[in-house]
Chain length 202, copies 2
Amino acid sequence: MKRSATAAPEIEALIALLAKTPGLGPRSARRAALHLLKKKDALMLPLAAALQEAAEKVRPCSQCGALDTQDPCLLCGDPQRDDGLICVVAEVGDVWALERAGAFKGRYHVLGGVLSALDGVRPEDLRIAKLMERASRDGVREVILALAATVDGQTTAHYLAERLTPLGITISRLSHGVPVGGELDLLDDGTLFAALQSRRST
Amino acid sequence: MKRSATAAPEIEALIALLAKTPGLGPRSARRAALHLLKKKDALMLPLAAALQEAAEKVRPCSQCGALDTQDPCLLCGDPQRDDGLICVVAEVGDVWALERAGAFKGRYHVLGGVLSALDGVRPEDLRIAKLMERASRDGVREVILALAATVDGQTTAHYLAERLTPLGITISRLSHGVPVGGELDLLDDGTLFAALQSRRST
């Protein structure tokens, strides 16, 4: 690697990787790298170790698709939770958001995205087969489609509702408490709680 | 570590460390962690390795105080640069900003901060003794005080000008191209270039 005029290649490589992290651009990545180099023992080395450890230990749950160090994950393995309710979300961050709100005590199912003609995301790209299998099990009473109020989110909810209807179980969506155009992960706990409480049958 | 309801402790630890990085808050740290976990091989493990490598190899230069993997650093060791000019900056990021602008071909000196009554930063907390030693060497013609146009930055420049005056060399400051209240590191290259070109004797 040719030596650039600005900083050592080890620093430039670090900045380039930091800049790929959501929330950090090229400029803030540079500031972050400098801050980390100033706090090597307190922050930089612990962060390196935490990244390494999480990368090695964290895996998707074979049941719900959420991320955990155990499989089935803590939420799928918890005997206190209601097996009769499945809450379908797009991403793992949505599970975390709903858990922070503390409004749901059933099981989750992470699709791994939403259908999108623009991004070329088709039904077979999402964890829909596994959802159908789980929703078909004895004792499942309701599937809650907790998807964002975006075009793609609602298209996905509509598609899933059509697929799930033959199972003869209740299919519901989050209420209109979710702001139109908003992402679940960015909502405050109170709004999420209200949206879940006033969910409506589809 | 007690298992929280939201995510595995390995993930929570990672989020807590990411949230201490400038530019990332608690919420964006969560999104960043999730993104990293999705891109383990392409981003997460390389980032862990880059952090580890930079933490091990990067050290402050014993001459100028900038960060590099070699000592003296590339800029101090470059025979093409003018030994007669010393540009004094507060932080390593300022060196990078001036190098990106490409407007300066002398040597740098990183103070490691600015004097601050509020933050309790005294002259002995900065690399001023080393600056005096370097500025006293034969052949040094000018010291450029490239400090921010903040109260603390200008107080520091004033203090340094008084200390350096007995040496009988030219002491200059960046011109008024630097916006008042602005930090060097955040300036565009063109403004930095103009400010350096039209520097004035103090």
